[in-house]
Amino acid sequence: MRVTVRLFARLREIAGAETIAHDVPDGSSLADVWTSLSSTWPALAAFDRTVSGAINAEYARMSREVREGDDVAFLPPVSGG
């Protein structure tokens, strides 16, 4: 199935793209999507412990399953304000 992946800040720079159409096996979790991205862009692994995930613009645990067509986002540590 296909999800849309959004990357921000350093993650976006590492991947060289802010939005990626990404194919993952059915039943994949957010963590699985992240691991799959890391295999394409190994530098992402530096964020394994600090990345946060979101599905359809809401925070979601990395164990959450993604669904076809989901808008998935990975967020490095935030620094707004």
């Binding site: 800040a9 350093r10 600090t50 946060s52 979101a54 809401e58 925070y59 490095p76 935030v78 707004g80």
Partner: protein, 162 residues
């Protein structure tokens, strides 16, 4: 009237943010205590001479997070309203990156809610600051974000002295 929660590429106006919550909902009853916090880009950060900041954000999610923070405030301090506008894009020294307005019948709640709001924004708003200084640039990496992290909420509440 300006929306309570907004993201903008344009200069922020503290007065407009504050005006969006000046009257209690559904009434013409003014709030007795109004607070406005503005975060301003400073020219020096540690030893760096900052040239500019570039703020990047995930806009629809920022708005949801702002709504969540507003709801947390309404729950902790009933009757206390909060409005937040965040700037994205390129900011020069002296420009405002965020405005948080709070309003309540009583000043204690207005102060506490304002401080709570900025701490929560720094914890969970999906916004990233890219600092350009003389001789280089750096992404500022602050808090590991999680919307339902109770320990983070508790820290924000403690900072608010509530």
């Amino acid at each position: 009237m300006a929306p309570r929660f907004a993201v903008s590429q344009e200069a922020l106006d503290p007065h407009q943010v504050s005006a969006s919550i000046a009257d209690a909902e559904g009434s013409r009853q003014p709030r007795g205590a109004m607070m406005t916090f503005s975060g301003v880009v400073r020219g020096t950060n540690q030893r760096h001479q900052v040239l500019r900041l570039e703020y990047e954000g995930y806009e629809p999610m920022i708005l949801k997070v702002f709504e969540q923070i507003g709801a947390e405030i309404e729950q902790a301090w009933p009757g206390t309203a909060c409005a937040m506008h965040h700037r994205l894009g390129t900011l020069r020294i002296g420009e405002i990156s965020i405005v948080i307005a709070t309003g309540s019948a009583h000043r204690a709640a207005a102060y506490a809610a304002s401080r709570y709001a900025i701490e929560r924004v720094k914890q969970i708003a999906p916004i990233w600051k890219h600092e350009y200084f003389e001789g280089g640039d750096v992404w500022i990496e602050g808090a590991v974000a999680a919307a339902d992290d109770e320990a983070a909420k508790k820290r924000a509440m403690e900072a608010a002295c509530a």
